[in-house]
Symmetry: D3
Subunit: 278 residues, 6 copies
């Protein structure tokens, strides 16, 4: 899995322009053009994501930089692990440090949080997915990081999969009619997901032929019943109020997918630091 280089480059350039704008007065005025070595070190245990983006940040500031990677995206790292060693101009290393770390720490934070959930549901049928609750401009790297952490991606955007929420159903009038109307119009590659709040709605969604049904904020008991009723006729997604405490229980109801907004909307950065040899 590989994001396109030029997409990544645009993101990095935007971040570098925010951080450097014009010149780095401290580095540009004090540090000469010599080369040195630096390394990235994990300050915690977690899952790595974005290491190529970090390296690319330095490369955009010094195209002669060279590096060795000791871990790759998706790998587990432990506190103290050396993740990468770079040799390049001191100036470029110092100028790029903050930007490279900001991105790497954010991406690894997502991968680590995702992986925590993946570990918690291990052995059950459930997969972990993010939602569309992403930060502006960061959706591709956030979605990528979820996969690096062992999760699966939910729909990328509103063009890609239909999802009928209360509002759509209310706006249209009735669930069954809405699903039928939609099926008439959408392309054949599009799945239809329907959000339901109780077993009556579940039934209606199943009869309407929904491909995926989102069980919205249901109790584990209700979800267990939903799984039995559905009996494989649709993919079941649990969503709403998922915590580290209840995620295992939810998974054990037999649902197929557990989606969590927090994976991307409330990211705790994963701590990584850069050490320069001077």
């Amino acid at each position: 899995m590989q994001l396109m280089q030029f997409y990544i480059d645009d993101l990095i350039k935007k971040a570098l322009l925010e951080d450097i704008n014009y010149i780095d007065i401290t580095t540009d005025y004090l540090v000469d053009d010599n080369a040195t070595t630096a390394k990235l070190v994990a300050k915690d245990d977690g899952v790595l994501a974005g290491i190529n983006v970090a390296m690319r940040t330095f490369e955009l500031l010094d195209d002669s930089i060279e590096y060795d990677l000791f871990f790759k995206d998706g790998d587990k790292v432990k506190k103290g692990d050396i993740i990468a060693k770079m040799t390049g101009k001191t100036r470029a290393l110092l100028k790029g440090e903050r930007t490279a770390l900001n991105i790497l720490q954010h991406m690894s934070g997502i991968a680590t949080a995702t992986n925590k959930c993946v570990e918690l549901v291990k052995g059950t049928n459930a997969s972990i997915a993010e939602t569309r609750k992403t930060l502006p401009g960061l959706r591709p790297i956030q979605k990528y990081s979820v996969v690096a952490g062992g999760g699966k991606n939910h729909r990328y955007n509103l063009s890609e999969c239909a999802m009928l929420k209360d509002n759509h159903i209310d706006a249209y009038g009735c669930l069954t009619n809405a699903v039928n109307a939609l099926r008439e119009k959408i392309g054949h590659t599009i799945k239809i997901e329907v959000e339901v709040r109780d077993l009556k709605e579940l039934d209606e969604a199943l009869n309407a032929g929904a491909d995926i049904i989102m069980l919205d904020n249901m109790s584990c008991n209700m979800m267990r019943e939903a799984v039995m009723i559905t009996a494989g006729k649709a993919v079941l997604e649990a969503s709403g109020n998922v915590t580290h405490e209840n995620i295992r229980q939810i998974a054990e109801t037999g649902v197929d997918i557990i989606s969590l907004g927090a994976l991307t909307h409330s990211v705790k950065c994963f701590d990584i630091s850069m050490k320069i040899d001077l």
Copy 2:
């Protein structure tokens, strides 16, 4: 304090393109072009930031939308408070909902977290500031949100204020010489900040005439001593391992600024929901 509209517009458009790309198949195929009313409701207690950005999101999808704001950026909101009421095309409200909330919740999350710290140090000399540990492309709205929460902004970028960290000093050779060399070269509007790890370095930084001195990961005792030694000759900034638990203590040492990376690098979104009248 006001970000430029066209900067905001570019950010929103980028986010809308990520989320809609081409069309919103559910809304475009099911919902007609009529108008309706919706409201934004706080789901928690906190500080608002980004409400104009959220409104602008809807406006970019429906230029006839109208809205009333009941709170403005920087205001405290309580769980259940109605923040805004909008009247516009149902389609635009549904299409823009996720993008508007993603931004608003992120910004309000920052303002709320900042304000929590501001409250904790109330009555002391200390101000709360963010760092350059921001997310790519989001620096302006993140910095703005810190101010909305009652914090003060640290330097915007590497062009704007010189900061000598270990690496710069090591690369140059000696703190005093580095500060002197820098002062020869930088413009007269630029302050010099020096990072110090102990009182000996503090002394050297003071003698070199640093405008600001960052006390890096010092104990409260050492910081208290630093405040006495400095005696107003430089601004003192405490940084590193600041928590809700120790922030009051740190503030009470007499430092001027407490800076926290977590305000922008590990944001917990502030929960706000949209209710549509259908």
Copy 3:
């Protein structure tokens, strides 16, 4: 169905810059700033698409322009029909004419060609779809125009629906394994389409649980057999060498979708002219 205004604006601006660059020397030097009236007239029979894009082109050159539309996207127009009447500055009408028509004629050309196919298969089970054979930068308006013409959209891009062609299967080794491997990894909102060339492959694809099966360049007899074998267990898409002559026959085999690259890669523009009252 509605493309986002700012996406459309960017496309128009790009086209206007290509055509005007700096100034329109003929119009700028000869024509004064007065207002006049103009109308768009169909020069042939067909289906309209892009009329709002055309109007927006003039609006970007003269924000005081006013217009009445007598047809909307998806409507059938006949030779001589007046499609729209605009009142605005003569300069803006003359400067925008070519750009507005270039886009409108291209979009209406696609809608018209799509509709021709839709009419030809009327009464059968088959829908008409375009492919990813679109022109660079024009995918959104091309996909939109297919829908305006009565077609349905195939997958928008490579992120949205998996499609295993020969090359993927050969690269992976075996169809069944490839489908299984993919199902392990993709999100739950993604369908899997498999391209097959004969009934043996069809069988394998069905057993592997493909959601959609593309019958590549098959004879109508083979497709008829494929429809019977499949018996609704997957969506069947006919593709390759579809012409006006054979499309009805193909549709009558019972396939669900007929996809045609020519709808977007070989567009014949639909002739529309602008008449100015002077």
Copy 4:
């Protein structure tokens, strides 16, 4: 003749983003990072244009790709000819295939159609030119392809050459006055073209000193007379209702230029396929 690399790169990136957006789920999940060989094969007889753009598409996805070109832009290719051989990562070849072919087939389609006309008028005085009826964002590659096919470019845009059509003349009042007024204002590098519909207007345009005169939808007899009257005092351009059937006749009237909108507004793509060795 060479378009600027960075212009081409922007066009390709735009197209790749449309087609890949985020990841290619089929290729990214199934195909490993190994290298392989592929070739581009002509599926018809025609004239090649855009082969460097196609190669660049792969290069932007895999900067280690290598290729041999057996034909260059402007060359005639025959059905079955191998146009290029590429060796690079299978992933990049699969991801870039559609985008590279979409552009190459469009450009070669234009070159082939242009060349058809060029062949039809061979031996006469007439050159073949396109018009401003181009597709949004594609003018540079469309104009380039016309030249590759043996045509000559008409004016690039409205800044570059003045052309007085009915509307301009009507808006100004009188042909002679309009030409004179324009000559007073335009730069010395600009030619003036006047559109005429009969011999009386031709006469007026000649007397006014038009550099180029467009004979709009005239019969061949009238054009022959126009050529005699003009006697080399202006360049004569025939335009309107030019077909493969009448183009030779038009050329034989002695006009200098025959311009066809269809070369760029109604392009039939030239079929080229990619074969991968797996």
Copy 5:
């Protein structure tokens, strides 16, 4: 003559981002949101250009701003003249002041310098033109300002008019052959200009049928002879070492065009100040 609004907007936004970046700390923190009045006053005698660009700058910061213009582009203003009066938010006026003036002063500087030359050659046959020696990103507004000052535009760019300089001729081998080769290839709307250094080259250029001949750094005597030899068979352009002292003399040789790089490469800004009523 009118530049396209969105081109102008992009230029202004770029400049505003350079000057404001994030916030205007002085204005945003000290000045409230009330409205006030301001005026632009000429501090010297000259020719105005860019007044709409200046107004647009304020409009982009405050869409409710209103203004009266007392002069328009191309008008002569005298020291002390009030050029425009604006009523809008004090914040927007203060934030936009520098950016608006920077552009207006540059454009008016060009118009004023051009007009000075136009006045100096008044009554002769000669027109004044700029060259391609423009500043990066500013060509459209620089060319526009030359016209506002009474000059005529030279070729816009290298696509628009062929010009054979020494280097091209040397690279090709011989002037006559080069002109002929070029004529075979270029479109019929393109003029050919040839640079000559003596009368022998002039003769060759005339015989080759050059449309325009640039007399490069010739003495006035030689130019006078060139005018006689040419006798209207080509447009003659004088270029090189033109000063306020010798421009009248050059014009009196009878040349058609005098082109000056300094009009755009060495602009002296025209002084205009903004007065705010507070």
Copy 6:
């Protein structure tokens, strides 16, 4: 000191697109793809700035180009000095010549003008600085060139340093209150500059604790007095009506900074030419 490559690249690409747009008809049609050698030669005495930008221009048109630099930014060059020698494709050299020189000459013009002032105040306490009176889109290269010429940069933009001018003070009510209000709100890295017109205001600014005080259009006598009164408690900046004639006198008053708008708003280009070996 080093601007970021991708910022520079964007500027060059913008300029190349203005100058070439599509193709260079003269060069593309007449000059073959062979390589040759060219050199840049100073036509005057001055200070070099922008040589890497000039080289990069050629590199963007021909990535195989090679060059030797005989001077670097900040070096003094004399009339006739060979600044650089390039070996690359003749086409790229001819196409890039104008754009490369336009940028190099502008930047070197700024460096040369700055250096002239620096030389004039040599031996005094005063530094030379530019202002925010820059050209749209060129601020980074203009600021960079001032440093190359030996000057120091004033504040980069309105986010970076507070400056209270009359208007701000009038809008707020009183200098002392305005400074105090501002100090409450701005970050700790921001300096406050106050513009004063007489010694009374100077006194008030000093008492308010301004970091920098701008002496606006004061006589040298008044400035001398201001220096004595200030006695090092603030940085003093002289501004307004600075000329080559009076700059030494101003410097000798003891002020710290002399700022000149003309360094960037009224640049005289420094003449450099390119000679190609053909």
